[in-house]
Symmetry: C2
Subunit: 158 residues, 2 copies
DNA sequence: CGTCAATTGTTTGACAGCAGACGATCGCCA
DNA sequence: TGGCGATCGTCTGCTGTCAAACAATTGACG
């Protein structure tokens, strides 16, 4: 026992803490998950934010950056960079909205749809690996609980 | 209804996304929770990290910064600052470990215990408010699920 | 028509977090 | 004894995020 003498009692304090402070557990879990997600996403050349923007555009049609920000819970300032990069990659078009010339109408392009399809392909494997500790029923439970939590989160100030 | 014309159809896309991507739901929920926790914690002059360090010291006795880092999932670099501030506030003592002069033996002081007691007092109210969307049973479910997730997280590389 | 608050997209500055490198120290081994 | 890899605490630089300020535009109201 050269390294790690008895002093390093592997305190195992954390489980106790996690049980007592769901907020801490939530944050710690999310950082690990977020890191894994970003790594998995960038294998396709898209960050998580880019992926989500494409996904939402494909699902609901052209949007302003503002709507994208609010729905995806991504800051407006950050959305600027994401839109810039997506446009530069040719995955979206940015045109001024005719009805409201302040806003852009961000539209997904055909290459964008292809990139989205490619990125989506990796998602199930990533989820299976990241949530391997939970069986399908538990995963559904977690999703439902988080959904409840988010439905009343502080961003819903209106 | 001057503002918010009909064009803002309140897409309500997010719930669908959250149901499909538990990783995103986790991250979004955690940022909201983390912000609230930090705000609540700093009412007592302690950040969340400071609070956790005091809590762990009170629970398991003197520790090295390394052990504190690992158990609390706080980076070593960040722990330096936390320990500095706690020491300056008189809440912990930092002495060199006699057995291993590289490491500190961080010990909580009596003022530190008082500060901890004060900070702990606010926790139940904060949790009740932050997890108001969940009844006690659901809160326990969430805690259990997160515990499972964290037990096998990537930091457990050993 | 002119004014004014509100909204959209953007830029800027501040700040937290992390990776990497460093000196000091430890344990091990020749 | 001396050397060598590993560990602890620290510092530095980078990245990503957020708050605040800004110009352009809109809609409402006098």
């Amino acid at each position: 026992m050269p390294t790690r003498t008895g002093a390093r009692a592997r305190t195992t304090y954390f489980p106790r803490l996690a049980a007592e402070r769901p907020d801490i557990a939530l944050c710690r879990a999310s950082t690990a998950v977020a890191r894994a997600a970003e790594a998995a996403a960038e294998q396709h050349g898209l960050g998580v934010g880019h992926h989500l923007v494409l996904k939402m555009l494909a699902a609901v049609g052209p949007c302003s950056q503002q709507v994208l920000s609010e729905e995806l819970r991504i800051d407006r300032s950050v959305m600027v960079g994401i839109a810039d990069e997506l446009e530069k990659a040719g995955y979206v078009r940015r045109e001024r909205d005719a009805q409201d010339r302040r806003a852009y109408a961000v539209t997904i392009t055909t290459p964008g749809r292809r990139a989205l399809t490619r990125a989506e392909k990796g998602v199930p494997a990533f989820l299976d690996q990241t949530f391997a500790a939970l069986d399908p029923a538990e995963r559904d439970q977690l999703t439902a609980l988080l959904g409840k939590l988010l439905a009343t989160d502080s961003t819903a100030t209106d």
